[in-house]
Subunit: 349 residues, 4 copies
């Protein structure tokens, strides 16, 4: 039964290729805690994707991917600069503060979720990195695609990376929807990451067809400290005894370009849905739709029509008597037919 | 390909029923973060097993099940009493200290891994619970089946529970091999837990045929504080977005008595293996074999013969020129044929 | 030798009464760790000042007074609302995050350092206290006198207190310059604290003539949880073995109205200094001068003249070619003559 | 009024030289937070005492001196080896666990409080430093004089230091009664510390005549990481704004050999007291009396006679119907007359 849910891309299940990979990898006894062949092969696989040597630490959720990445990059007395509406600020229950031992997140103003180098410079300016009274400026964390469903170009990331480096900051990328970003920009993963100054990436796969699989990818000089990241990882309860099953997901995800094909579908369907909805009277896009997230203001009546499809949604947030704001997210397995049915419903009284 | 690995029960893959459950539960869109029907039904399912109302919080690893259970039961200035060789002391990279905010683990002497009430009393005696200088005695944590592969009887657990209550301690059970214990004792799960004074249980399923699924089960009065446990859980990065897949494993695990059937097989094969090996000259059981773990001292020559089967093992630890100690663990899918082959090999020069 | 330093009020030494109290209290052997008579009498003394029963926990620095107060009031997953330039945000090296186990500080816009209830309401609005994903709104922390040297009236504090209570927030007051506030408002300490909704006060004494003495003062229902605060206190290394010497300072500070007399002098001298300086061409007050802190923009040439007195200052922060901003702070022992000399210097080319 | 208290050396007040130093240093305005001349001169002063370049970080209590020293030396996943009855294990309310972010203290068996290299080796043996599952062996912490009032010889410390280095452990010394140890051994401070392998010393002064002053002293290569220690220090709330008053104590303490003269007096009086008491029937020394602590078993009747002097004591712990154990501690200002009165009382029915 295909029953689409537009509340989030993590409301979808697994892609069939992932289920098959899990089943296939279950055969036989293997060394636990990452001593299996699938896990041992991951770094080579990711190295091909990123065109450079990388370190890869597989984890189970995006929350922990971000929290451990930050714990790896900042001391407890550090300051992490990010967009004020970033997931790590508003949606992770202080997990970053907890895992870093008390680092401070400094939310900066964004342009549809994207930071500008000037804003970063102004945010860091009042802090003297050598003054023990102040939080020590330590990390820039950006989200690609952003929490508003928008994208940085590789050039914009490089400009932020240069600014960060000038300020003595390490650069982290929250890539919960990394595949959607790569697919939309049609760029090389390397151009959006290490070539632009990103040192640690939370590489998301769960939202785009996996079950529970993310990877912390470490680039360049930071790799020499990866043994410390492995201690964080174990102590966080993320060293799965049957690690092969996280690795099997990641392997199948990257195999034959699956990840990009799935992301491309989600992006395409979102684009179609946004194009259709914005033509309806009273419907307004709050942010540009660069990937698979659509932020809308719409008449409550229109939303009720969408709900009548029986598809899944999270509740609309009323902003007035008759209107509200809602986020719709498409997924790796959203079909053209799903979108057609939504658009038909939306315009049918 | 069936290729057994006797290094640990977590060296095995998934039971076919678990794979099927994962595949089945993948259909359709559902609310994420535990809003799905499978997760919502878990507490009723566990309630049947335990013959009482329970709260259930699913997690991905045993490390985190224990660490969050303890964080739920002790303040940061608390002391946790346990066997000196307990997994939480020696094998979890200080995760309990981290998640509790700095509680202290106090390792006590055991009898083949089992604590005695007198030892607990003596361990707690020097601490005055009202003196701010001292760690505050807060939790007793016992492991069933123990780290030495032995069992407490329900009566022994009740005696420990009574002693703990008298000392003002909460009682936690690390049940990484809970199914093996229930199967071996052929007792009701309730008799081994809440009826004997256990308040929080780390209910393990991964080692016994699941992929990555454990549950923190909370009994009795402690249930009113479970909202606090949910905060720990989210902040620890354990609130899986596609939580249905953890819940699906737990559901299928408990369904039709699968869990006990699988554990029973593991126990039976361990018993056969131990019985056969101990007859060999120079082979000695270090601990009684109550469930599916066998701790052995044996001639290195015998171990080499076992290895010649091509089956998986972790290295033997030499204790002298010619002998060493090794742990062998059977699993839900260990076959009689596997054991026959091992025993044949062991006795064939 | 009297050598004034206008960089901060903590650049001054001790009042003679405090030195005498230290010397006097040194006689004889007494129980350590707060078992001495001076410490045991503190709560009665503070109770008189605050016209109600209070709990008092003496500590050595303002950093720790604030950090432990917050750790007492928020869970690790909580959010603390405060002025964006609050000391706890910018000047305590993440001590609040550390001692709370990772709570999040949310900086809000202020009016010369003072929060308005509407700003608080807007800041808390996006967070759902029952949603485990979000930081849980837990504490309002206000500073009286504020970091900009301004004051809330008791009515304004009560309005904030009411708003906070409506949002489910505990109310903390950072009173590093509490005496200066009471002296300037000429109000009862009770009206500015518990009668206005404040539940925990960091009562500062160090800046106003003590050596190293602050007190965490707990009011009303929160007092029943004070045993927990004592655990935080010991674990933070703040249970001084010779606690009598912290208590002796606090006792002498409150004795015969010393604290208010000293604060009144500091306020008066600041007022005179501000009145004189603002008449000088190019000199501008950045914030109203309600207590003993003066924030100024002035020509660099004027600052150089001030420096020629040989008095102490912290460096001016240049804001342009010829001007800069600087903070001047008067103290319990600033004399009229000191101010005369400064004003004369400032106007003498 | 001189009213001795034999419960602890921290039941005494300040030496007159310390009071004078506090009064003297109060004159004039100075830069706060350690920018004053007294603080800036500390490292040279300590450097002379230790005959080498050292880094010095002044703090207010022994609890925090130890906790920050350990936080400086171990990662959160580290293991700290120490005597099972060490102050850091039993008397600091988990402060070491808290400040280290969750490191584990491993208590080892001692000989009257002293560790032997073999015991350390056996304790560390089961842990593989490279295995992420295990706590990582990180620090040896020894107490000189020990918690049982006994001493290591410099040679014994060097043997432990060599063993520790061989195991990859940093070496910390808890010197709460460091002066008593140096005075008793009549050795150079260097021989007992860095020349014997100690890298970080908690240098105590409070118990021996100061008010509240301890210093973390860092030797050798560890000095290059001291900026990190300064961050811990500030974040712990130990960077006193009027730091001059901590430094003034330390300066006066070291001046003209005060510290050793005071410690010598305490040791001498303890020796006299122990010699007298042990002659009384039924009185037994539990540990050798190497410095100023006497651990005794005695008839309750004898203790009651001691109490009749009106001097201060902490309660005796009954061990049978008629006997109990008690600790008596002499101080920098214990007089021969005090001891005479005690001994007379003890033997007078």
């Amino acid at each position: 039964m295909h029953q689409p849910h537009f509340g989030s891309d993590n409301a979808s299940g697994m892609a069939p290729e992932i289920i098959e990979a899990l089943a296939r990898s279950s055969a036989g006894g293997v060394d636990s805690y990452g001593g299996d062949g699938l896990t041992l092969a991951l770094e080579e696989k990711f190295g091909e994707i990123f065109e450079t040597d990388v370190s890869v630490v597989p984890v189970g959720t995006g929350t922990i991917a971000n929290a451990l990445s930050l714990a790896f990059l900042t001391p407890p007395w550090g300051a992490i600069f990010c967009y004020e509406g970033a997931h790590i600020v508003v949606d992770e229950a202080n997990a970053p503060e907890f895992f870093t031992g008390g680092a401070k997140l400094i939310g900066l103003e964004g342009d549809h979720g994207r930071l500008h180098p000037d804003v970063l410079r102004r945010g860091a300016a009042p802090m003297d990195a050598e003054d023990v009274h102040h939080p020590r400026p330590s990390v820039l964390s950006i989200t690609q695609a952003s929490e508003c469903g928008t994208l940085y170009s590789p050039d914009e990331i490089r400009a932020l990376g240069d600014t960060a480096r000038g300020l003595g900051l390490a650069v982290h990328m929250d890539g919960a929807r990394f595949a959607n970003a790569v697919a939309a920009l049609d760029c090389r993963p390397a151009d959006m990451t290490w070539r632009a100054g990103v040192e640690v990436l939370s590489f998301g796969a769960t939202k785009n067809g996996c079950m529970a699989a993310e990877a912390i990818v470490v680039f360049g000089d930071r790799r020499k400290d990866v043994p410390i990241l492995h201690r964080h990882h174990k102590r966080a309860g993320q060293l799965f005894s049957k690690m092969r099953f996280v690795s099997a997901q990641l392997e199948a995800y990257l195999e034959s370009g699956n990840w990009l094909a799935w992301a491309r579908n989600a992006n395409t369907q979102a684009s179609r849905l946004a194009d259709g909805l914005k033509e309806i009277e009273g419907v307004r896009l709050i942010h540009p739709v660069d990937v698979n997230e659509i932020f809308l203001e719409m008449p409550l009546a229109v939303f009720e029509r969408l709900e009548r499809t029986g598809f899944g949604f999270y509740p609309i947030q009323p902003t007035g008597n008759d209107t509200g704001t809602v986020r719709l997210v498409t997924s790796f397995n959203t079909s053209s037919d799903d979108i057609d049915r939504l658009l038909t419903a939306a315009t049918t009284a």
